[in-house]
Amino acid sequence: MHGRKRVKPTAEVEKLRKEKEASKIKEYNGIVAACLEKKNKCEFDNEAFILTTKILSQNPDFYTIWNFRRSILLNEISEDCSEEEKQQKFSSELLFLQEVFRHNPKSYWIFNHRQWCLDTMPNPDWKSELDLVSKMLDMDARNFHGWNYRRYVISKLSCIDSNALNLSKTEFDFTTAKINQNFSNYSAWHQRSKLLPKLVEDEQLGDQGKKPLIDQEIRHISILGAYYDSQNYQIILAFDDEIGMLTPFQVAYKNDTSQLNIVEGHWRSVSGSSDVDRMHGFVWIFTLNIESSFNELFVTVKPEWIVPSNSEVKLVSNIQMHCQLPEQNKDTLILMPPQTVAENTTILSTASRFREDILPMTMQERINLLKREIATVKELQEIEPESKWCLQTLLILLRELKYISELNTEESKNIDEEVITICDQLINIDKIRTKRFEDLRSRAIFETATNNLIQVSPNAQQEIIFRDNRLFMSEKSQLPTFTLTNRNLTIIPTPSILLHIRILDLSYNKLTSTIFLSNLIHLQEADFRDNCISSINGVNNLRFLRVLNVQSNLIESWEAVRNGFVKWQGGECKVYVSGNSFINESDGKKLKWEKEMDKIEFCY
């Protein structure tokens, strides 16, 4: 059905075709009507069976008829029927299916029926099925129905064949053969990706020694700290890496009888511009539902649904954290570094893409492997400089290396710079996917710039002073600033790391949206001059925002500006707007402006 070209036939040809088909249609509809009538009357006889054969030979997608055929067969074998007779019926059935399959190799229903036959018959011959599916895959090595069927047959064989490892190995060799026939057989490569872990697992059955080693070496994610904002009834948790979360944390307080009472509320991440990006973050805020203040709160982390972004995860243990406010000054918040928190501060173990179930290696072995792979791919790349796949592979490897090894700032920066160079090359080679490479480049740039932006010295307590409704990170920088201009940034990948920033300068970039600003609640000034922004978003709950510069962007209407300030929660704010095409319209006056928006002053 796919990719069929439509050719407009002549009237003459059309007429002939219709005449020919008219009799076919009459015959087909006749058989179908007769068959469905028997079905409705539950007449599971041979006549009905023959009707189903006629219909399905012509139209194997008519699933209702397959259902009826199965009912007929079940009815036949439920009566006095010997095992031999049953076997015979199903063997014939399998032959019939082969016939139909020849003309319709991609019908779900044919495979369903075949599986049903094999599951129902007394003595299915799995080896012969394996031969059959091998032939199918010879005819079409990418037929995913075939590959699915093959997996089904193998799983049946492995039940009766006690030598499971041998079967995995044979299958692995099958994929090798297929790849040698056609290097680009993605289906074979995919199958291989499923077999490799099994092979390792099977081979590891005797070797328990390596497992504890791997557990030890796995990188941990730490909670940088937690603090309680009594003004806003919020708990704020900061991690040293992005995690995804779906309410696995439990917040409770102790009442007079020292019993833990759960506090109701909801979690959100300080993050991104799309639904999926908001599922990840460095910083998570829990807003309590009730307006009470507590001296202490207990936060328990449960091992469910917490995942680091873009990685597999295993939770090590439950964690309990304790957020305490000092008696004397309720307005003083303390960011507690991991050591002063409860015993198990590392809450997650994370395996990188080099999962230990693929290769049982220590972290150092993995790092060495990565470096070797990088060198090999670079060699390839020298031979094929125009190969985008070499370059994209390098991107993956470099990112992996950065992620799993404890690099110092210099090494980390070097990798980021190499990533940027590769992205520039890719933009030239693969012009269709430019925007993705621009995003990847922006990520590398942003990561370099924000490396160590949130720091915790393991030995000292870092204080956050909460005074006059404001948050101060340390004595030195009273107004934390972040600047990253003129870097062709298209996205801000992890905005949550900017939570404490007061003054933000992202001018002269290629950002298309300001929505990542939402939840950066301490922002006072934001500069987006000379970007590609088409509407204002994500600013309406930034209570302390006093200056927003969107000069020389791509805003085309007053509405795109106005909508950004609906339910404006802040005070007076100056918005610089010159250099956008909308300012030539005077229609702004005609829009409905809410009372709160009176505090916004548009400057030119």
Binding site: D61, R433, D439
Partner: protein
């Protein structure tokens, strides 16, 4: 391990050029023609193909109707007739068949609910029975969904069930956590999803799994950067999208791939102009039965 990367190197740009005729490229969507085409679909009774595809009738109504809806032309199909037809496909157990007299199946049950939602006529059917039927399709051990009593399992059915119950606001009727667990078993090395655990990534299955995860608020389980990459590599030199590596492009993949990318917030990773060109040209060059209008329009809407 090196072989893995060689493989990636091997999936190079041996993209097949679409066999488009050298027609002039239309610069607009021929909305009137598409509306008329959809209206004409039920009149092709002298085509054998019409009769051979009876089991798809209900899905055909959905694809036609939703395309019309996008073109602000829902009334081009008579609402009463549509609702009457849908109702006549329902069985006593709550499930709907692909056509009158055809056995109930989860796929068509989902289509039925989608159509009734568009026509604002859910009160025409026994909703509770539908919920019962859909819920009964879940295997509570594995979380997976069977298509019907004959037991085929596929993540398409997970999506059909979750989407259907979500529209009826009755997700409480199934074990969402288990359903999610099963979907995650179908995740592959490339970030994509297949029909069953172990199955190869395919754009349509990816749409189903990502869509289902989005509905139940579990998108954080998707590796958006990795999957987004796989998805944007579906775009070929002629601007069209294929369904998996080394395969030919087709307009239906515009929908499966684009909507998945859109949910993942990475639709800009596809080249919008080239895809639009391809789709508009496909108006005259290719056919894909009644699905063409819907896929065109949905895809164009996403790239707008």
């Amino acid at each position: 391990m090196i072989n893995f990367y060689h493989a990636l190197a091997g999936f190079s740009g041996v993209s097949f050029m679409a066999s488009t005729e050298k027609t002039e490229r239309p610069s607009e969507l021929f909305i009137d023609l598409h509306v008329k085409y959809i209206q004409s679909l039920d009149t092709k009774k002298d085509d054998l193909e019409y009769w051979l595809t009876e089991h798809l009738r209900l899905s055909g109504v959905y694809w036609g109707l939703t395309a019309l809806d996008l073109m602000n032309n829902v009334d081009a199909l008579n609402k009463e007739e549509v609702v009457k037809y849908v109702v006549s496909c329902q069985h006593d157990n709550g499930g709907f068949g692909g056509h009158i007299g055809h056995d109930p199946h989860l796929l068509y049950t989902h289509y039925a609910v989608l159509i009734l939602q568009i026509e604002d006529s859910l009160d025409a059917v026994n909703v509770e029975k539908i919920v019962e039927y859909v819920a009964s399709r879940q295997d509570r051990q594995t979380g997976a969904f069977t298509g019907d009593e004959w037991g085929e399992i596929d993540t398409r059915f997970s999506y059909s069930a979750i989407s259907c119950l979500s529209l009826l606001k009755r997700l409480d009727a199934i074990d969402v956590k288990k359903a999610t667990e099963f979907i995650m078993l179908c995740k592959n090395f490339d970030g994509g999803f297949g029909s069953t655990p172990g199955a190869e990534s395919h754009a349509a299955q990816i749409f189903c799994c990502v869509g289902a995860l989005a509905i139940v608020n579990s998108l954080h389980l998707v590796d958006a950067d990795l999957l987004g990459w796989w998805l944007c590599e579906r775009q070929l030199k002629n601007g069209g999208l294929n369904g998996r590596p080394e395969k030919l492009e087709d307009v239906c993949y515009s929908w499966w791939v684009l909507s998945a990318l859109s949910i993942l917030g990475r639709v800009h990773w596809i080249n919008k102009e080239k895809l639009t060109d391809f789709i508009l040209t496909a108006q005259v060059s290719f056919t894909h039965l009644f699905m063409i209008g819907n896929f065109h329009l949905k895809a164009l809407l996403l790239t707008a």
